[in-house]
Amino acid sequence: MSSAPPSSPPPRPVPKLDAENRAFWTGGAEGHLNIVHCGDCGQYTHPPRILCRHCQSENVAPKAVAGTGVIDTMTVNHQPWAPGLEVPFVIARVALDGVPGVFLTTNIVNSPVDQVNFGDKVRVTFEQQGDIFYPLFEKAN
């Protein structure tokens, strides 16, 4: 299985774009973290859907949210799941500010892993790979 590690990190798996997820994965081109918002009940639906999961209204549209949040839970991953993947790194579940009930699984970047903790305030930073803008997060202070 093992081979010489490639000189560059492996590409992130690429989400297959569709009617439901396109605004989420491409919003970073405009610097927007888009979450599906309901024009009728005002609540958010994530993962994105073409109807509101709270009131089943079809009057939904992606809405740019603040892009800040708090680390709800996290793990330091040590296992290279793909050849050449550099470890360790932080996988976190971020509770988004102003978007109650919505969490994003993401990576916390630009800090050593031992400087990342539960409750840390974080903000989005997009990493572009082709058409996709991956919403990663970094510490806000």
């Binding site: 798996p13 297959k16 839970t73 793990t75 296992q79 799941w81 996988i91 009930g101 996709i132």
Partner: protein, 387 residues
């Protein structure tokens, strides 16, 4: 009188790592063993249930479907079911119980076959093509290299560390207990060869904090079969029947990262709704341990302890040992006896309730057991009783 459902036969193929035997043959081995155990013949079987059905895109995960068995065994099946979209592995047995209670079927083969170790040795035939793209639920995790369920369960476990003070020494008891019991399980010989010590556990490499190598089950090759029979068909059975006293399941959205608590906290309380048995009546628990943290969620979800207390209950390992107050995973669990993917827990519960567990038999003439499966947003539980 309402019909009851019973487990009347259990069987398990050789359990190994990279077994040369074809997974369809492993399945037939387990079927034959379960039939002999129950005293049934194939012409008495009229239903076949499984989880998750044949996984065409990833055969190592599930290489045999209900159609395969019906075909090669010549079963005249009245009802079959093999689907991923059900609340975790043991729900296939729960649905078989409903089928016999409803009078649709009389004797049902339930099975789970895995070939994940053998599949690694033969990736062209058994493993998925290299996935550069992602869709469905995995798109919300794999782009961030949260590729494995290890990373998902780790985030639940990390919260127990942060919020309730769970230590690695406490968590270690699940894997240590599993290794001790596996050494007394003849079917686990290829998986566990020596007892896991706390020192060895503490120095193991991390996978995803707080889960280390020994907190994650290992790919294995095996088939496990459970035969479910109608209560009015027991005169055809030669083995000691074990009643399926209650079933429960829960799926709270299939989005691991959107749910606050794993589904064990919903399926747990539900298990006690349709039975007079209570946690204090339970003689042994067989809790899904694909990752070591999951039994802690079942201890809490089923009400054996309060939420946030599970790691304290297992501390030191004496309460969950074979001679403790609540013997856990007496065959070794998946950590000790291989990734049988859920069905091993039902197999061992029945074996213990029949007093047929040999060297690892728990004392005290056990009559009631709980077997569970699942983690994260899906969960299924069975309450089994020899009454």
């Amino acid at each position: 009188m309402a019909r009851e459902a019973y487990i009347t036969g259990v069987g398990q193929s050789e359990v190994g790592v990279r077994l040369p035997r074809h997974p369809l043959l492993l399945t037939v081995d387990a079927v034959n063993q379960a039939l002999a155990d129950a005293g049934l013949t194939l012409d008495q079987i009229d239903g076949v249930f499984s989880f998750p059905g044949k996984a065409q895109g990833y055969l190592a995960f599930s290489p045999v479907g209900t159609d395969d068995l019906i075909e090669v065994l010549g079963i005249k099946s009245k009802w079959q079911m093999g689907a991923m979209e059900q609340p975790a592995q043991l729900s296939a047995i729960g649905m078989a119980a409903w089928a016999v209670k409803e009078g649709i079927c009389r004797h049902v083969i339930c099975f789970r076959t895995v070939y994940e170790a053998g599949g690694m040795a033969n990736p062209a035939e058994y493993m998925p093509l290299q996935q550069k793209t992602t869709s469905g639920s995995s798109q919300w995790t794999s782009p961030f290299w949260a590729t494995s369920a290890a990373c998902w369960v780790a985030q639940y476990a990390a919260r127990h560390v942060h919020k309730y003070g769970m230590t690695r020494e406490q968590l270690a008891q699940i894997a240590i207990n599993g290794s001790k019991n596996a050494l007394l399980n003849p079917n686990a010989r290829a998986i566990t060869k020596e007892e896991l010590t706390l020192d060895k556990y503490m120095s193991a490499r991390m996978i995803s904090t707080p889960l280390c190598l020994y907190d994650c089950d290992r790919f294995s090759d095996a088939s496990t079969v459970i035969i479910v029979s109608a209560g009015d068909a027991l005169d055809e059975i030669k083995a000691t029947p074990v009643r399926i006293a209650a079933t429960s399941g829960s799926v709270d959205r299939y989005s691991w990262d959107q749910v606050e608590w794993s589904a064990a906290y919903d399926a747990g309380p539900d298990l006690w709704k349709n039975t007079d048995y209570r946690p204090k009546d339970v003689d042994t628990v067989q809790f899904y341990d694909g990752f070591a943290f999951l039994p802690i969620t079942w201890l809490e979800g089923l009400g054996f302890v309060e939420k946030g207390e599970g790691h304290k209950f297992i501390e030191g390992g004496t309460r969950i040992a074979r001679d403790g107050e609540l013997p856990l995973n007496t065959a070794g669990g998946q950590l000790g006896a291989g990734r049988l993917h859920g069905f091993g827990f039902a197999h061992e519960a029945v074996t213990q309730l029949r007093g047929a567990a040999g060297e690892r038999q728990i004392p005290g003439d056990p009559k009631v057991a709980v077997a569970t499966s699942g983690g994260g947003p899906m969960a299924a539980a069975l309450l089994l009783a020899r009454d």
